[in-house]
Symmetry: C2
Amino acid sequence: MTEQAGSAASATTSTAGTDVVALLRAALGGRVDTSPAALDDARADESGHASAGRPLAVVRAASVADVQATLRIATETRTPVVTRGAGTGLAGGANAGPGEIALSVRDMDRIVEVRPDDLLAVVEPGILNAHLNAALAAAGVWWAPDPASREISTVGGNIATGAGGLLCAKYGVVRDAVLALDVVLADGRLLQLGHRSVKGVTGLDLTALMIGSEGTLGVIVGATLKLRRLVPGTVQTLAATFSDVRAAAAASAAVTASGIQPAIMELMDATSLAAAHRLLSLPVPTPGAAQLTIQTDGPAAHTEAEAIAAVLAGAGGTVVLAADTAEGDHLLAVRRAMHPAMQTLGTTLIEDVSVPRSELAAMFDEIARIEHDYGMVIPTVAHAGDGNLHPNFVFTGPEVPPQVWDAADELFRAALRLGGTLTGEHGIGVLKRRWLADELGEDQWRLQRDIARVFDPLGILNPGKVFAA
Amino acid sequence: MTEQAGSAASATTSTAGTDVVALLRAALGGRVDTSPAALDDARADESGHASAGRPLAVVRAASVADVQATLRIATETRTPVVTRGAGTGLAGGANAGPGEIALSVRDMDRIVEVRPDDLLAVVEPGILNAHLNAALAAAGVWWAPDPASREISTVGGNIATGAGGLLCAKYGVVRDAVLALDVVLADGRLLQLGHRSVKGVTGLDLTALMIGSEGTLGVIVGATLKLRRLVPGTVQTLAATFSDVRAAAAASAAVTASGIQPAIMELMDATSLAAAHRLLSLPVPTPGAAQLTIQTDGPAAHTEAEAIAAVLAGAGGTVVLAADTAEGDHLLAVRRAMHPAMQTLGTTLIEDVSVPRSELAAMFDEIARIEHDYGMVIPTVAHAGDGNLHPNFVFTGPEVPPQVWDAADELFRAALRLGGTLTGEHGIGVLKRRWLADELGEDQWRLQRDIARVFDPLGILNPGKVFAA
């Protein structure tokens, strides 16, 4: 699908695109890529959404100085800049279009410093999540944010979107795992936000403000990450099948209420479970059956897994406790097959509402109601441990049909009614900007936009995203 | 000591103070207190610093509507507003002076909701930290921020200053423990920031921005707190004495490097240890001796305490492992006696620098150098587990002598050189505003001040604090 209104149209546009490219080339030489393949690639992320056309150029920054040079030219020429990492976003936030510079920081992928004694690492933004943790493991430490895309997504993109993942209930969200950020402002100035110490309350917490700001406040060019020590012991995996999704959701709430904190607690509804089984050539599940897949970790992993098994059985589940790591991987493979399984069904709009954990069953009731009212099937998986649901709207063709947006609108309103949010971890981007004020209220929406203008008075940082009405 | 330049002088001042009080009385009746005792009380916090004179009035808000009414009048009349909780701050941030309204939210102290299943509580800002945790314990949960003042300080003040405490290395800082805030803006509008769900990345994270904003952005009138389950097991306490403070600091770094995470790890240097012993009528410690006091908690508390004891002994410490809770309380009582012990020595300026944990010994070297260069004794305690030091400048008389400020200036610069910060948990207030730009840099200082102006265009919220040059 493509954006109907090009994002550049709503921003201050460049007066002469060719001059901008010439200026970029003069300053950055071979780091400026205007090949059709590169320009096309920069139009889209993994949301299925693409900008209305090709951007002016892709700048492949290799250093802070490259980013500063790009932004100085952008400011001089009033040219919008869309910062990109690996392009794995799910809200269209990094899609670059006509009249815009796509600024890739993917090549800035060094680990600058690892300090196990201070439990911190300093990295460049383009490093992949999985590469970082592979390197940290040698020092006995890890960085907890764990998006499902970790093999292909960057740390900088993770911070810029506030992407969470499977481990948030036990190990925290991105906000809890970043100590400091180096940020280049729209005019090219470099700021150092935050500190290397555990504590620090000097002035306003701009580090936290940058997390999840989706490229609207500045370009993250360095990050000081708060690490954890590797968790000792062997991970234990169990899966439980329930007669229906409501029973599975209630069982996950019972696990949370029991006081045992799993590392991972994933829920698949009947449609997604059946699709994953079909993809993996597993036996067809009982019609209507939903599944919880749970992992425990740490020294007490085994006793916690057994206690959780008892809670699940008491809640009506048929429980399988993996005998070893191989069987555990096998159980989790069903959950991991969800996205490829959805792709076999058609084009997918992956939604991302989040509700208080106690409202998970109620949110599934709302999804069932919307399925009924709209005559749709909405396969849904949930990070049940933290109340984050990913309902999948499946359709044919490149454009989201209007009735899918209508159903998504109902979904968002239901999540807000239950005390939840439009987006737990994917962000607003272009896909949810028209609902932003519904959650924030008009006063807060305007306040947030005015704060963004303090950072970016010319409105050249990712215009058309987040705050565009 | 009193402020030389009244904070109101630097702000838009009220045209007619008596009219403001009349307007407040008309709107808020008996909630407006102009008794001399109340006005004098509102001039100071626990920093030893007081404003240049009495404020116009103290408004004792009992509801969100009271706060809104006060701020509407403040905006209409351009009158500065200083929000106060229990007045236990250590940076002068809540001191109200001539021409200002002191807005107390201390009477807004209800617990609105406790949800153990969602691990959250909704509270009003005036509740005392200790009262909150006493009430939460009945539901098997607690709120982790744990300032030393918890018996007398409010949750709202804790959030407004980002006050940390003893447990931050293991259980996180305030930023990690707040999900949502209700905030009244300078013009009286009420905003709801954040969400009740574990995850949520809708728009900019204004909840995090409010934490530690010291009354400059808005008035916190409600908070949704992220709770933890009560930690099972019995706390274990141990103390270790070292020949000098550098050895004690190195031992604390060795504990952190060992990978065992204590709940509490406190360090007392020789002067503070001797003063505490004197106050408690304990035997005089070996000259020069410094002490670490450590607590472990959770199911593995005992084995962790034994492992830590081995690390401390290996680092040259003489270790005492408490046999029971009573002996543990006795060991920790020495640390708790620090502040009263300092008060026996004279007037105290309690500083609050924070450095990366690996730099703790280096920071003590800097303190020794400053003691030598200035011919001073600077008794220092540290939350050694997180690198937060409280050097105490002791002097006679009500005013901080210029040479103490000179020595403090050296202290701040040393902390910044070591990758640390001016203030780990007390805030900037009035006492550190002239060093704020040294840490932030001029560009970030100006950006932060401009963000504050978006919230408060008239500059009536706590003027003269934080961003006043």
